[in-house]
Symmetry: C2
């Protein structure tokens, strides 16, 4: 198949690489000439072309740009897409994009997707094969897309080793606020808290262990990707954030009261996450 990938960052680049290795012809589209060059040098894509030229010759178009830029690019791509072609996105928020595409004459050729995969790195150089293996490939609001379009995307996901899930876009965004977006927020905040105190305590990071590295890892994530996600998913993210702050305040109160037993209870309660994480592995 002929596949175009618009946006050659971590996700777009990794998907390009996997698809190219599977024998598809992969054309890259990126408005950053350095990313084009890098993607070609790294062998992520067969060729780079302008959007119109790439899309008009594609069976499938993958849009892998920051979520705020998705609607305009998808609408532009739909103009040039062949009749039987399919466009899907890979963004971390799904409600806004489905809303923006509502009623579009070619809405049924678009599939709202989200492969749950990534790392804290970004750009073409962060791309690597196997990123999607045994990860979840989610399709949202499946009834808005033509059945053959959904099948083609799910087929592609299966080819790169993903498991499949279908879910409504609102439920998707709510769940992601809790299991992904608030994780990033907590990590950014941890990074800022420690960087802030470092001004007065210059050797503070000497004593950071592997626990700190693990908890702060996501603070390395891209501003261009994450700021739009926070804005697009603000409703659910603010709910999650309020609940998070509320629990921090419960901890604070118990620490202030030297309430060791109360703290033990809260930590024991948090330990239930073990079962969840083991179930997933």
């Amino acid at each position: 198949m002929n596949i175009s990938i618009i946006g050659l960052g971590l996700i777009g680049g990794s998907m390009a690489l996997d698809l190219k290795m599977l024998g598809h012809r992969v054309v890259g589209v990126d408005n950053n000439p350095f990313h084009q060059r890098e993607a070609l040098d790294l062998g992520l894509v067969d060729q780079c072309l302008p959007l119109e030229q790439a899309v008009s010759a594609s069976d499938i178009v993958v849009v892998a740009v920051p979520v705020g830029s998705m609607p305009a690019i998808i609408k532009e791509a739909l103009k040039h897409l062949p009749q039987e072609g399919v466009i899907f996105d890979v963004g971390s928020t799904k409600q806004q994009i489905c809303k923006e595409l509502e009623g579009h004459p070619r809405r049924n050729r678009f599939v709202a997707a989200h492969p749950i995969a990534g790392t804290e790195y970004s750009g073409p150089s962060a791309a690597h094969s196997g990123l999607f293996f045994s990860k979840l490939g989610i399709i949202c609001d499946v009834e808005q897309s033509a059945p053959d379009a959904v099948n083609k995307v799910e087929d592609l996901f299966v080819q790169i080793g993903m498991e499949l899930k279908r879910i409504g876009s609102e439920e998707h965004d709510k769940h992601l606020a809790y299991v992904s977006h608030i994780s990033h927020l907590s990590s950014f905040t941890l990074g800022l808290t420690v960087l802030d105190i470092e001004k007065d305590e210059s050797s503070i990071f000497d004593m950071a262990g592997s626990g700190f590295a693990s908890t702060v890892r996501l603070a390395k994530s891209s501003p261009e990707m994450w700021a739009p996600i926070m804005v697009e998913n603000s409703k659910h993210l603010l709910e999650a954030l309020d609940s998070y702050i509320e629990i921090l305040n419960q901890f604070k109160k118990k620490i202030l009261n030297n309430d060791e037993e109360g703290l033990k209870e809260m930590i024991k309660d948090a330990n239930r996450i073990r079962t969840v994480l083991e179930r997933k592995n």
Copy 2:
């Protein structure tokens, strides 16, 4: 050398294993008979004995129990320690223990230590060799201990592959509040936030990716170990927590205002953590 390890959990057990492999004779002390049995079965120690019997025949005594139980056990051990013997602890807070031992007639045979190593697991079965390799071994308030006692502990740390650092106990506790204790608090809170919403959203963890797993990992940590650390280091931990909550509120305000540029600035600022983490690796 004859070495006693009081408390056969992750840290005590791992240290026992390394020291036994180096040819030292290691005697375990633990008031939990199941832990004694497990430590013997796993080959962590040569023998288990009651505290008095173990300590009175030891060159070095390691105390690896939750920080709240340290002072009483160290005082008891100092009663039975041979004249040239040395006791050190491995707790994550150092001010309180130094304060409690202040003016003790045998204070100079005690070394306040903290090997910065660990995982989110606990108990003898979590022990493994090499845990301390290339990690930092910290000695606090070194001037309170006899020089030969400090040398013996630092020697032992070097034998198990650690790098050395000396620091005051107050500075230690302040730094650890930021690079370790607040990390744990943020992770416990993340776990509780998501477990709480799970009551209404049963399949929420289906969509958790590797980012969530990394950020929530420390929420598996032991209540018996962490509640006393929070209480003992409450002064510095509350400072760190206030700063953490303040930054969360800045994020909240920017999300409420759809301030994408402001969010980008904050995330970009948090990204500086990359340099720190790379410097450490």
